[in-house]
Amino acid sequence: MSGLPGLFADGFARRALLEAVMVGGLCGAVGVHVLLRRLPFFTMALGHATFPGVVLAALAGISLFAGAAAFGAVVVVMVALLGTRDRVDDTSAVGVTLSGAFALGVLLLSAQAGFTRDLTAYLVGSIITVQAADLVTTAVVGVAVLAALAALHKELVLGAFDRGGLAALGYPVLALDVALLLLIEATVVTSIPAVGTILAVALIVAPAAAARLWTERLAATMALAAALGAASGVVGLAISLQWRVAAGATIVLVAGAVFAVSLLVAPRHGLLARRTSAAPAPTRAG
């Protein structure tokens, strides 16, 4: 590599770098909550399900952020409603909503004969073309989400580990659940310009899962996850600029590699450390 400063000399590269650091850090911190509540599939579904919102917004000529955010909120409600039916479990509710919403987006797209705007960028991201306005949006949403997470930290953590306890203490459990889902949604939507709807979930899950392997303390996990997310963004961007491959996908691959290395060498929970003290693993299909 011709040195990092050389690689990030141009304006577009510097904007991309700033976006990668902000999105990576935000996703990493939020990801810890996603893992605690076992919500990766829901996050994946949100990524898919914002697609029709993006198409509608592109057709109407309004902000793609607004379209994605509005549709994401609809999905949050749909999943919550379907999940309350006793014979539709959460996983199936998410599966049905995910495929239905995504198909709706494809249908809307196909019905527009003269539709020329390239939507591949919204599926796999286009961080190189990030504009100053995108950076401002990311910064504002990021600060708001992190502030909300900090303000609700105690309640959210208690809710993740002991819902009964949270309810007994008189907290509004359902409202807190919806608040967390909306925070996740805001994070996914903010990540779309950088890594696209499909890959946003990677930046949320992988750094947090890697951080959980290194430390047991929650505050440390969040800080480490944010750092790993931001670092994955920078390294992935540098590799993609150097070898001219898709940026969003490279960032995700770096995040995946960080997780794979952590899984191998992490001190207590890594596979190498476990080989000495092999405990019987619970049998659960993946």
Binding site: P40, D89, V96, G100, A103, V205, A281, A285, G286
Partner: protein, 290 residues
């Protein structure tokens, strides 16, 4: 609307055979997916076969072989990674899914015109499948159907009572691997023709609808197969009718998904009614006994 007239055209005939076979197979496998709550596994596999397709495409080899190789690799990785306590199976799935998919995107981003390839992979091209595609789909579907028939009893037992299955001497880890491989086969059979979104819909939506309508696994399997095939047929007919007669182009694969979701919503509306009828007949039976 005419349910038969569009299918006199050869390409519509091929599409119909494809969706009928896939709808029936995915419906039957989907019941196990829904019972075991493995919808995410199905979703993951639709994405993880992508690099296999890309590599096969770049090497000029059979796309099916590439997809199959990565499908099997994913099934094995999922079964082993999912048992790591600190990671959790859903996190492992999400990371595997996005990393493999990204690998495919990175590889294909080096070739010109990659957005078109990506679009085909995601949305399918069910109206453009040729005779070779059809034969390949039928072959893989036949293997999957035979495997499902041979292991059905064991897989259902594993779904409802893992302890009993283990006590009876079945290797539950092997059964889990078998089910993951089965899902991979369905995905591989379908993904090239109908795209990732339609595969996951065919697997989850009819089975979830059937589960609302009956409690018996055999009936659920039959109903899910029927709903999957019927949704495929109806979706193709609607998309043809609207596109040709009303000049509003509707993508065939996406129309099928929307029809399936419509059938599912219908099932959620009918389910409480059925439950009440069942409860009443039980009361009547109890009174007749008295």
């Amino acid at each position: 609307m005419n349910l038969f007239q569009p299918f006199t055209i050869p390409y519509m005939q091929r599409a119909l055979v494809e969706v009928l076979v896939l709808g029936a197979l995915a419906g039957a496998v989907g019941v196990l997916v829904v019972l075991r709550r493995l919808a995410f596994v199905g979703d993951a596999l639709t994405h993880t076969v992508f690099p296999g397709v890309v590599i096969a495409h770049l090497l000029g080899r059979s796309l099916l072989a590439g997809a199959l190789a990565f499908g099997v690799l994913t099934a094995v990785l999922l079964t082993t990674l999912g048992s790591h306590r600190r990671v959790g199976d859903d996190a492992a799935l999400a990371i595997l899914l996005t990393s493999f998919f990204s690998l495919g995107v990175v590889l294909i981003s080096r070739t010109p015109g990659f957005t078109a390839d990506l679009t085909v992979f995601l949305f399918g091209r069910v109206l453009a499948i040729d005779r070779t595609d059809l034969v390949q789909t039928l072959a893989v579907a036949a293997v999957a159907a035979i495997t499902l028939a041979a292991l059905h009893k064991e897989l259902v037992l594993r779904a409802f009572d893992p302890q009993a299955a283990a006590a009876m001497g079945y290797r539950t880890r092997r059964l889990d691997l078998a089910l993951n491989l089965l899902i991979a086969l369905v995905v591989v059979a379908a993904v090239e023709a109908v795209g990732t979104v339609l595969v996951i819909a065919l697997m989850v939506v009819p089975a979830a609808a059937a589960r609302l309508l009956t409690d018996r696994v055999a009936a659920m399997t039959a109903l899910a197969s029927l709903l999957g095939a019927a949704g495929g047929w109806l979706g193709l007919a609607v998309s043809y009718e609207v596109s040709v007669d009303h000049d509003l182009r509707l993508a065939a694969g996406a129309t099928i998904v929307i029809v399936l979701v419509g059938l599912f919503l219908l099932a959620t509306a009918v389910a409480p009614l059925r439950r009440r009828l069942a409860a009443r007949s039980q009361v009547a039976a109890a009174e007749a006994l008295r």
